[in-house]
Symmetry: C2
Subunit: 116 residues, 2 copies
């Protein structure tokens, strides 16, 4: 039978009161900024507007004690952005949590699957 894909979508978000400090989108963005050294390049890869990427970065930096992304304007290449040590640590922590959550969820997949 043509079984449509059944999957568990968990998008853990770290909330600081009402504001979303970290989530799947921000994590991906963080990763790409680290990789490209630029917010705009990272945005392009994620096919999101620079506007939005910048907004996400601001939200992260505003929420955490230490900025996760340090950006600079002008200069060689026009500027750029780098992920701070704190940023790398937070990203790693989030990824680990994500992986563990997915492992747990996977164990329930079959249970749902047979009813869908």
């Amino acid at each position: 039978m043509a079984t449509r894909t059944v999957e568990l979508e968990l998008k853990p978000r770290v909330m600081l009161g009402e504001v979303r400090a970290m989530g799947p989108g921000k994590a991906d963005l963080l990763e790409l900024i680290e990789e490209t050294g630029s917010i705009s390049a990272a945005a392009k890869r994620m096919k999101m507007s620079y506007r939005r990427a910048w907004t996400l970065v601001e939200a992260m930096n505003g929420a955490f004690k230490t900025p996760l992304v340090e950006a600079s304007t002008g200069g060689a290449g026009g500027g750029g952005a780098r992920v701070s040590e704190a940023g790398k640590e937070v990203l790693a922590l989030y990824r680990r949590m994500q992986a563990e959550l997915e492992m747990v969820a996977r164990q329930y997949l079959a249970g749902f699957q047979q009813r869908l």
Copy 2:
């Protein structure tokens, strides 16, 4: 220090392709329908429009092999709705998963907290 509340928000969704078969909102609704025996009463308790509640029910019933909610119109009291056996089982499964996921997440809370 006035520490704003830091929490992990995980809203696991069971996806059947693109459609959301089960999620936190639907689970709550299901629970309230079971409790009240009525979609509209459940909707009221959740402070959501009957329109939306009904839409959610339809989505669930459409996604699962066996309808999770069985509704009837007319008759004594105008009609009503009950949660099927399948519905109760799916709900229980979802709740168990949710609880386990929350336990895992909780272990990461402190890690984020100290950086927020």
